[in-house]
Symmetry: C2
Subunit: 271 residues, 2 copies
């Protein structure tokens, strides 16, 4: 792990990342030190830093640190955290200050092939996402809603769960973006009020655009999902999982999901 470029596993206990969750992060896969989809991940990090008023480190610096930590590993998962650094007491952003940059590497988790081939079982989480348009879409460090939702799923023995807002609009998975397929067209939730707009969501939308498939960003309800031909979840660590089952829904064929999964994986091998 590198903290501000130096080998360390420690950050200052008065870092605003800890005090207030005042920062952003990225999680991505690497092969022999080369990050997958780096240009998209960096663009998203840069976007999120800008949205939070944080200086974003240079892409070359981050790339160098990722390589330094993982060049000898065939496969790994990296986490990059940028916080607003140490702060005087008080919520207001310091007028100036040195941001904290953390680059950490972990072994790539292993996921059962069944999740990809047979699809996963999900349910709708009890916790509902609050609306905060000022922070929606950003992968910031205020993630207690995800912690509660993911804990619900784990306790229920489920791999993933669907998150709704308080108005019954689906937003995504606990750690993933959601798509549904109907009559060959794709639909994905509008993230203007909550949720995280991830890199793999962007890539699925690009896939659709390149092939002339319609992909609508819209409001989706549980009833919409129950009528779907296919549902799948995407993130940058597991890739794409089709949904086999949730209450009121059972599918065993995922033709478009599988094509999109191949695209996401092939493209990553080339990158």
């Amino acid at each position: 792990m590198l903290v501000n470029g130096l080998p360390s596993d420690c950050i200052s206990a008065d870092d605003r990342g800890l005090s207030y969750g005042d920062g952003v992060f990225r999680t991505l896969r690497l092969r022999k030190g080369r990050p997958h989809q780096w240009s998209l991940h960096f663009a998203k990090l840069h976007h999120d830093c800008l949205a939070m008023g944080l200086d974003c480190p240079a892409a070359d610096l981050l790339l160098h640190e990722l390589r330094q930590l993982s060049a000898t590993r065939p496969a790994a998962v990296a986490k990059i955290i940028i916080t607003r650094g140490r702060g005087e007491r008080g919520y207001a952003k310091p007028a100036s200050g040195k941001h904290t940059r953390i680059v950490a590497i972990q072994p790539e988790p292993e996921f059962s092939v069944n999740k990809y081939q047979d699809g996963i079982e999900t349910a709708v989480c009890r916790i509902k996402l609050g609306h905060q348009p000022a922070l929606a879409g950003i992968k910031h460090l205020n993630r207690l809603e995800n912690v509660i939702a993911a804990s619900e799923c784990r306790d229920a023995g489920l791999t993933e769960g669907f998150l709704e807002d308080g108005q019954g609009r689906l937003i995504g998975g606990t750690r993933s973006n959601l798509f549904m397929v109907q009559n060959g067209a794709l639909f994905t939730p509008d993230l203007a009020y909550c949720g995280v707009a991830g890199v793999q969501r962007q890539r699925v939308m690009a896939y659709a655009g390149e092939r002339g498939l319609k992909c609508s960003v819209t409001n989706l309800s549980v009833a919409d999902l129950q009528a779907a031909d296919e549902i799948f979840l995407v993130n940058s660590v597991f890739g794409l999982w089709p949904v086999r089952k949730f209450p009121g829904y059972l599918r065993t064929e995922f033709p478009l999901s599988n094509r999109i999964r191949n695209y996401l994986e092939e493209d990553e091998t080339r990158s």
Copy 2:
């Protein structure tokens, strides 16, 4: 600063307090190592830990650490942070794990006497608080809304600002709880959907109860505030500030606010 009882200013960079804001905190005043209103602060910390499924450290242990750090200081402000500790990757709460306990001391900030005597100027913040009943009231580490709101106030040259939810209901200040006085009765916002239920709010409600003053927990709008006889904000560091002015409101006499401020301060001297 003590981290898990040992002198340190560093926490593990994979602490869930940093990764997800997965923890709670308290800020309180001390005189020669003795915390003000310790029983209420500890009860609130214990309540918040319980609500988050965190083990709360023993009161005696925390009290010992506070004294250790501040016994020689005539006045200080302490911050206590309890996080879910280091975690494997992933949002779900670890089945077990050692929590992180941070006790830090800072000099007491000095506030101008004018703020207490003449009252402060405020405005309504542009950012609106999102609803999250699962976390409302708890002083957890997901505080980006407060960071944005406090930065707005600082940039506008204001000491404090009022926070509303998306439905135009007032919730509090950026770092304080809000009360309004009308015809001798007190009113304070309902915090069932957002906001932090602080110790000084509890104390003002206790003051009202002891004296047979009516104190209603209710929905309040900006129009309600504009028609108030008095408005004041409370927290455990600055105590009580009357509000002199905000758009559509100007008051120069704060008789009940002053009596309550005396109560909060006197009581603290005795504690």
